[in-house]
């Protein structure tokens, strides 16, 4: 059995627009390579419009024009069965939900407000499970109980449930077929602070019991600290650093990561923290060389012209010319 579930190689996905003869190209995912191991939670961090959502959409094979895959490949390995997302789109259909599922951000957008919750389960999962109606509902109820939800919620409408319960339901929905790979897009951002920890604990618990791999996206570094095994930091469409969570937090190698971690406020410490100067880059017209150089405190002339490659360093990988000299601010 292969230890890697997902292998992304040299992936490039651009938004290509052609309005009134003006061509515009936004390089949302620019040459990203990463692998995700079995039984691992991989977190992707980055600011909004850094291309992190485009990256996971591309991995899920859920892209629509104007976003197009220009180059590279996304390959899954489900129990020895290899699946190339962009070479065999037909095979993907069978794998959806059974092998690969999705936890979405706003639970209210997933559940139809005018239909009972049980219809969502039937629509999403019934076909993939290949069970009779009776067995299917028995399985769903058993699954809900495991997740700590009363099976009676199946008979309610989404508005009758609290935000935390709805998010639990979307997690139940995504995991009912026991997939090998789960993609989660900002799973806790829309939740109240008080239920955030419960939902994170649930995700981790489900993942551990099923032995699934999860790739999740959020800009909230504290969520990464809580559940990710490894983190990838995305800046302006490129992966700039990757490594085990503890190492990334304790010894960041890229100046952007160092800033992200150094600027986190915490209770019990009101020392002044510096803010990053400048503004996020425009992906339609990104800076030359290393894309972080206009805001980087360590930039040298080389950074303006040459793009650093993502190279192995200590326990992870980093793309910076001055990686050795970075210290957490």
């Amino acid at each position: 059995m292969n230890a890697d579930v997902l292998k992304v190689e040299g992936l490039k996905a651009y938004y290509q627009m052609n309005y009134f003869g003006v061509r515009r190209e936004v390089r949302a995912v620019d040459d990203v390579s990463l692998t995700i191991r079995r039984n691992e939670i991989y977190g992707i961090a980055g600011e909004s419009s850094s291309g992190k959502s485009s990256l996971i959409k591309t991995i899920a094979g859920a892209i629509t024009p104007p976003l197009r895959v220009v180059d590279g490949s996304v390959k899954f390995d489900f129990d020895g069965r290899t699946l190339d997302v962009y070479a065999e789109p037909q095979a993907m259909k069978g794998a959806r939900w059974q092998n690969l599922s999705y936890i979405m951000q706003g639970s209210m957008n997933v559940l139809n407000p005018v239909r009972k919750v049980k219809h969502a389960f039937h629509d999403f999962a019934f076909k993939h499970m290949g069970l009779s109606e009776r067995d299917f509902w028995a399985k769903v109820e058993q699954h809900l109980q495991r997740i700590g939800l009363d099976p009676r919620v199946l008979e309610s409408y989404p508005h009758q449930l609290s935000g935390g319960m709805r998010q639990r339901l979307t997690i139940a929905l995504a995991t009912v077929c026991e997939p090998d790979f789960i993609i989660a897009d900002e799973p806790t951002t829309a939740l109240d602070v008080l239920v955030q920890q419960d939902v994170l604990a649930l995700i981790k618990d489900v993942q551990r019991r099923m032995g699934a791999s999860i790739i999740f996206v959020t800009h909230d570094m504290t969520v990464h600290a809580a559940i990710a095994d490894r983190i990838g930091i995305v800046y302006a469409g490129r992966l700039v650093e990757e490594g085990p969570t503890l190492d990334v937090f304790r010894r960041p190698q890229h100046p952007y990561t160092a800033h992200l971690i150094g600027s986190l406020p915490r209770i019990g410490d009101s020392r002044k923290r510096s803010a990053l100067p400048g503004k996020p880059p425009n992906l339609a017209d990104p800076p030359s060389g290393c894309r972080f150089h206009p805001r980087c405190p360590l930039a040298i002339d080389k950074c303006k012209t040459d793009n650093p490659a993502l190279l192995p360093r200590q326990t992870g990988r980093v793309a910076c010319w001055r990686a050795g000299e970075v210290e957490a601010a």
Binding site: E47, D192, V193, T222, A226, L246, F249, R273, K279
Partner: protein, 280 residues
């Protein structure tokens, strides 16, 4: 000591439901606090959604009238303002900043228009040169200049820059009080600090008091002088930031501060493990 803003047992009730089955929702119950006029400060209202923090802010800005109790701004009852001239005078001294900078500005209007019309309306400047000078001065306080903003639309700038422009707009009339309702919750983590630091600077250099409304305890701890914690309309805990947030007494405040994930993998992981053991 004279008060800049004084809330005296303020209540706000809403009637919800239909004609026959209506009930009363107590959005804000008996809230009292005073901001001193001599010493500018950052006063934070913390609470989850539905705690009444936004309703309180709207009453301070005069957008809602309290069901009972009084709000006094520089000695004047806010709900008792009647004439247009008095209202303008009040609005010049108490300015709002909203949550989502992308929604606060009309995408079809250039940003300088907002700044110019604020200057014209509150400062009564008629000539173009005077309006531009006032705008540029306000933008300089937030680290921008008119040259960067002139003729730009909201989609051309980042959330952090837009929020700075929103602050600059609020500064134009020379306010004594800024009410900022969740000003950083829609702003990226890397830009959040720049907004929060800006508030500190405004307090120290311009002597503006700021009412900072948030559900994020860690930034609250970082900038506040005083804090109140609201829960379902009640103030459950009040006091200076260091002691209230560092050592919360009330059950709800303890739950809130316990819900903050520490920015450290080892500590955060322990919390999640404990939750996993406790749940299911």
């Amino acid at each position: 000591m004279s008060a800049l803003l004084e809330l005296d047992r303020v209540n706000k009730d809403y009637r919800i439901g239909g004609f026959l089955d209506s009930s009363i929702l107590h959005a804000v119950k008996n809230v009292s606090f005073t901001l001193s006029a001599e010493k500018p400060e950052i006063f934070t209202i913390v609470g989850e959604s539905g705690s009444g923090k936004t309703t309180t802010a709207r009453m301070i800005l005069g957008n809602e009238t309290p069901t009972s109790g009084t709000l006094r701004f520089m000695g004047q009852d806010i709900a008792g303002i009647r004439s247009r001239a008095d209202r303008l005078k009040f609005m010049a001294k108490a300015q709002p900043i909203f949550q989502n900078p992308f929604e606060a500005f009309n995408p079809l209007t250039t940003l300088d228009y907002y700044l110019y019309s604020t200057a014209r309306r509150f400062l009564g400047i008629k000539d173009r040169g005077g309006v531009e000078a006032a705008t540029d001065k306000a933008l300089n306080h937030v680290g921008l200049s008119l040259a960067e903003v002139r003729g730009r639309y909201s989609h051309e700038l980042s959330g952090g820059q837009l929020q700075r422009i929103a602050v600059a707009r609020a500064l134009i009339p020379g306010p004594r009080l800024i009410v900022a309702d969740e000003p950083v919750s829609m702003v990226d983590a890397s830009l959040r600090m720049s907004i929060v630091n800006l508030f500190r600077e405004l307090r120290d250099t311009l002597g503006v008091s700021i009412i900072y409304i948030t559900h994020d305890l860690s930034t609250a701890y970082y900038i506040s002088d005083r804090v109140i914690i609201m829960h379902r309309g009640d103030v459950v805990e009040a006091g200076d930031a260091q002691s209230v947030l560092g050592n919360p007494q009330h059950e709800y405040s303890r739950a809130l501060s316990g819900a903050v994930l520490p920015p450290d993998p080892e500590e955060a992981r322990q919390i999640i493990e404990r939750r996993m053991a406790g749940a299911v």
